[in-house]
């Protein structure tokens, strides 16, 4: 029973990646009436156009073009970048590794800050601490990333000179320098995620505290601390796993802007550069890798949830 559930979930993931690859391909290569023209611009000579059309296989029906591309991608060949003439795959994957470092650090910071704050807000429902936390949460979800990023840079880099404003240093090479360069982008992403997770944590804790088993634990005479930590928190934390999985999707979108602003050579920035240069193979690879990353993390989050809460597997 449970094995079948996991198999089904994996199948869904594969389906998702296939649909996404079709969509990415359709938008980038099929939708433009003449992809070669739009790639090379108005100054292209007929010879250049013909050469590019042949290279992209634009003469063939759309589904044949797609199958050819998908076949190459399946074997790990994302094509040659039109900007740098280097293979796209390795370039994108190393960019992805920097983005994932950024994402993982942000999620870590978010969990450490948001979970306690959400619980405090729930315990002091309607009081000052709760109102304060809710207000901050509202602000967090109402500021676009580029605004949060710019304001934080203005405050922490330009005015207080605490942190470097832009750039990337690998923490593997220079740990301290790497961390200080990561601090602003991580802070920016965390502000938004914290708002999200905190709201969730607050309402979950409120729900759990109203449940029968908490009342039973209290009536049994358990000390409040043990009711809270052993009974309430364990259950309230469960949905956070799902929320984090879903937030990765948001994160990957937000990361495009964050990396652009803080000049971090991650996959978001690689994609923006590719779009600006009309570098078709890089655009396709970047978009597909980002969406596939989301599909994978979302599946992992679902599976983690199913392991933690077996009821899910029997729905």
């Amino acid at each position: 029973m449970s094995l079948a559930w996991f198999a089904r979930r994996l199948l869904l993931m594969v389906y998702t990646v296939i649909v996404v690859s079709m969509l990415v391909f359709a938008i980038t290569q099929v939708l433009p009436a003449d992809a070669a023209q739009s790639l090379l611009g108005e100054n292209a000579t007929p010879e250049m156009l013909a050469a590019l059309r042949a290279k992209l296989g634009l003469g063939a029906p759309a589904w044949q073009q797609y199958l050819r591309w998908a076949g190459h991608v399946f074997t790990g060949d994302f094509g040659i970048s039109m900007r740098t003439s280097q293979p796209v795959g390795p370039e994108m994957l190393s960019a992805l590794s920097r983005s994932l470092l950024l994402a993982a650090s942000s999620i870590l910071v978010t969990l450490v800050v948001a979970v306690p704050l959400g619980v405090v807000a729930a315990l002091r429902q309607g009081r000052l601490a709760d109102t304060g936390v809710s207000l901050i949460a509202y602000l967090g979800v109402s500021l676009p990333e580029f605004v949060t990023a710019t304001l934080l840079a203005l405050l922490l880099a330009d005015t207080l000179h605490w942190l470097p404003a832009t750039g990337y240093v690998s923490p593997l090479e220079h740990f301290g320098d790497g961390i200080s360069h990561l601090a602003l982008p991580v802070l920016t992403i965390s502000v938004i995620l914290i708002a999200h997770v905190m709201r969730m944590m607050r309402s979950e804790t409120l729900d759990v505290l109203k449940s029968d088993y908490i009342r039973a634990a209290r009536l049994k005479g358990l000390p409040e601390r043990s009711v809270l930590f052993r009974h309430a928190l364990r259950n309230a934390l469960l949905p956070v796993v799902t929320i984090i999985g879903l937030d990765v999707g948001y994160l990957l979108g937000g990361i495009i802007v964050i990396e652009e602003i803080f000049a971090i050579p991650g996959i978001g920035r690689a994609l923006m550069v590719a779009i600006a240069a009309r570098d078709l193979p890089s655009i396709q690879a970047g978009a597909l890798i980002m969406a596939a990353t989301y599909a994978v993390t979302n599946t992992l989050a679902d599976m983690a949830y199913a392991v933690l809460d077996p009821r899910i597997r029997y729905d």
Binding site: L12, Y15, T16, V17, I18, V19, V20, L23, V24, I27, T28, L31, P32, S38, Y138, L139, V141, S142, L143, P144, E145, F146, V147, T150, L151, A153, L154, D158, T159, S203, L206, G249, Y250, L252, G253, G254, I256, V257, E260, L271, M272, I275, R278, I283, A287, M290, A291, A292, Y294, A295, N298
Partner: protein
């Protein structure tokens, strides 16, 4: 309708949301007429003038009045987000209700595909579409609408599944009504409330997404004083003139907050029982 409005503004969050939105609406409708200066009026003596009696919210790198640019820019920011949300929600609602009506394996296939499309982050999908369609405010609106549709389809479908099992829908099927009639005349009107609430909250995302696209240079184009564009312009000078940055940023945030508050307020007003 009036009763709903009264219930909405009785709560502080609803009242604040409605008041903010009224201000924004005034700026959109009469911003051009009410602005103290022309938004493009260059004043080299007043470059980077801090907020004061001459320029209430300060001046930018060309000495242009930021308040005036903000008021005129409201029209190139907020209505765009509204249109994008409306189109995206309508498309999503039709997909969601249609899927629930068809039911069974078709429903399953549609929703799985819909979920798969949602694996592409909204901003990424919008960026891809705009890069294909070409930069500009109109294409950004289309892109946002497309990016919003799957999310709305999912929300709508979950509500529509309940409606599908109601007797009046079964009666319509028994009468031999066509699919279009059942979807548009029987089911859609009965899923409107949750759609309206969800879309209201989504307008705030649309405002942010549209401003982000403009900020990245692919949405509204200069010389429009769209708010995201104003932030992008002011970033270079943010140390000399932080007000140039903070004012449009605050305008975006307040607009997003206003729609969030209205959405939350509507939800409370429509479901008085839910006290959370």
């Amino acid at each position: 309708m009036i009763e709903l409005f009264v219930r909405l503004i009785r709560r502080p969050q609803g009242l604040v949301g409605v008041t903010l939105l009224a201000l924004i609406a005034v700026a959109c409708l009469f911003g051009q007429a009410l602005a103290p200066y022309a938004p493009e009026k260059i004043d080299f003596l007043g470059r980077f003038r801090p907020p004061g009696w001459q320029n209430w919210l300060g001046a930018d790198q060309f000495g242009r009045d930021i308040l005036s640019r903000l008021m005129v820019g409201a029209r190139s920011t907020v209505p765009m987000a509204l249109i994008a949300t409306f189109v995206g929600s309508a498309a999503g609602a039709i997909i969601g209700v249609g899927s629930a009506y068809l039911g069974g394996r078709t429903d399953e296939a549609i929703m799985r595909t819909n979920d798969a499309v949602m694996a592409i982050p909204g901003l990424l999908l919008a960026l891809l579409l705009v890069s294909t369609l070409g930069n500009g405010a109109g294409n950004a609106v289309i892109a946002i609408a497309v990016a919003f549709a799957p999310g709305m389809a999912r929300v709508t479908r979950s509500v529509a599944l309940n409606v599908r099992n109601q007797d009046y829908v079964k009666a319509a099927i028994a009468r031999g009504e066509g699919a279009a009639w059942i979807i548009f005349r029987e089911m859609l009107p009965n899923v409107m409330a949750p759609i309206v609430i969800e879309s209201t909250i989504r307008v705030s995302f649309a405002v942010m997404l549209f401003a982000t696209l403009s900020f990245l240079g692919v949405g509204a184009q200069p010389p429009a004083s769209e708010w995201g564009l104003m932030v992008a312009d002011a970033r270079q000078y943010m140390y000399q003139a932080p007000w140039g940055l903070i004012v449009p940023a605050a305008a975006i945030a307040l607009t997003a907050i206003a729609f969030n508050l209205l959405g939350d307020g509507l939800r409370d007003a429509l479901n008085p029982k839910d006290e959370r």
